[in-house]
Chain length 293, copies 2
């Protein structure tokens, strides 16, 4: 079978063997935003024509491809939801020459009625659901970080933090960026200094101004202030998402996961960076429930 | 005498009577950044030539005019500092035809060694030092809000929050702004909804994403989402600056002070919006100590 994680900016496909083993993988920047005039069937065929020719007849999709801007809209499942609910609610997508199913996204409600939605992370989390640990906290760091709570092999709740996007806006569009160099090298000590500062009671909006004063007073090098800002924001995110220390599983780009791991450990909790291809593992788990493998 | 609050973007001058009464006031956008080639003496003379011709012989300045980018750099005074310290450390500025003194700014250290500095607000606060209430908490809302703690008629500490600038960066340079209208009308109910949300334990970076989901789910009108964002940020600022309810004196633009008053009252503390011309009153108090009036 073929497993596809089709997001806003990226397309990632895997050819899976009988046990869910990854036989082949490929990816491109053909995210749903770069597909024109709804030509998703053609785009998919172009990406994996050789696999289809090879005889693959089943394709399982997840990610933003199931959103209103995607191929077929798959309504959000409400939490709590596990592998069974995700598999049972998979939406059929017409496609000549193969059976195509699309895993829906999930929605949750915050304590005071604010909605949360995700598409893709629920499938990546599904691969960890079977690991047995319960409860489990999974973090997907990024532009809009997701923190997913698992209990009894189901996703029971999740929250989103705008950390990555706020970092970019502050760095590129406030006075804080003026003294920052354009390099992206991380100064680990400055990053941890920012994480430590986030434990202070003064609040994020106050701590942010400190990036400026520390630099002006030569207590922080201009080259290091971007790393300090990153530590401040990630520290605030981690402390709010993890009100008491709790083991965290990190899924995402290695460099970012490494920073989050350090921030989580600073807050007194253990953190594990999960292997890549979480989407392939999650899609395999759901495919098994569908009796595709 | 003449009292001048000369900031980065604005010039505000007052002709004061014997008791510190404001006899005349004027202002312009001739802030220190618009004065070229260090021509501060000429710029000052151009603004108040008629008052000087009228026989005024003493000028007391405060604000960014005392910074490295200003006329003469007045070193920061360390907290705690009151009217006596501000008057005693005033710096003499050579100027033909009048005696000119410049009130220094103040610096403070946060609990973990992060510096804070201000120029101008210390003088505006000085006008309130004599009111007798002790301790007192004064808030100057704005791009970089200041929160000043007074005790025994001295400024003992202060903190800065980047609230106004962060609001602008988020509104103009993140996904949150995409659904916001360009109008600046405040929806008071949405503002208070944002303030209420800030009491939740999820943290600011998580709450920010709620601006998007509430709008997408039609729980918040696009026209109101900027007010909600403002309430969220000001709510977080107020709660962090005021860990326990405490009476706050607000100094600043009437519309912004009104929003802060509501946020502070929502947090269970009384707030008073102070009369305008706080700088004139503060400069008069310092001038009295100098025996100028």
């Amino acid at each position: 079978m073929i497993a596809v994680d089709w997001g806003t900016s990226n397309f990632r496909a895997y050819r899976l063997g009988a046990e869910g083993t990854i036989l082949e993988r490929r990816s491109s920047t053909q995210g749903i935003l770069s597909v024109e005039n709804g030509g998703f069937a053609e785009a998919l065929r172009a990406e994996i024509a050789d696999w289809l020719a090879h005889g693959e007849e089943r394709i399982l999709l997840c990610g933003m491809i199931g959103s209103r801007q995607g191929w077929v809209e798959a309504p959000y499942l409400r939490c709590p939801a596990g592998v069974a609910e995700l598999a049972d609610s998979a939406v059929n997508v017409p496609f000549a020459g193969a059976e195509v199913l699309l895993v829906p996204g999930i929605s949750a409600h915050d304590t005071d009625g604010v909605h949360e939605v995700m598409r893709g992370e629920e499938t990546q989390a599904a691969g960890l659901l079977e690991s047995g640990a319960s409860p489990m906290l999974i973090c997907f760091p990024g532009t809009h970080s997701k923190w997913i709570h698992l209990r009894d092999r189901r996703i029971v709740n999740f929250t989103t933090s705008m950390t990555g996007e706020v970092y970019g806006a502050l760095r590129n569009h406030t006075i804080l960026g003026r003294t920052m160099t354009t390099e992206n090298t991380v100064d680990n000590a400055a990053f941890l200094q920012g994480v430590a500062r986030s434990a202070d009671s003064g609040g994020l909006l106050h701590h942010l101004f400190g990036v400026r004063t520390l630099t002006l007073m030569d207590q922080l090098k201009a080259d290091s202030s971007a790393s300090y800002l990153s530590g401040l924001l990630i520290g605030h995110e981690v402390r709010a998402a993890m009100p008491y220390p709790s083991a965290v599983h990190l899924v995402g780009a290695a460099s970012l996961c490494s920073l989050y791991r350090q921030a989580i450990e600073t807050c007194g909790a253990p953190a594990t960076v999960e292997a890549e291809d979480a989407a392939a593992r999650g899609l395999a788990v759901i495919a098994r429930r569908l009796r595709w493998i």
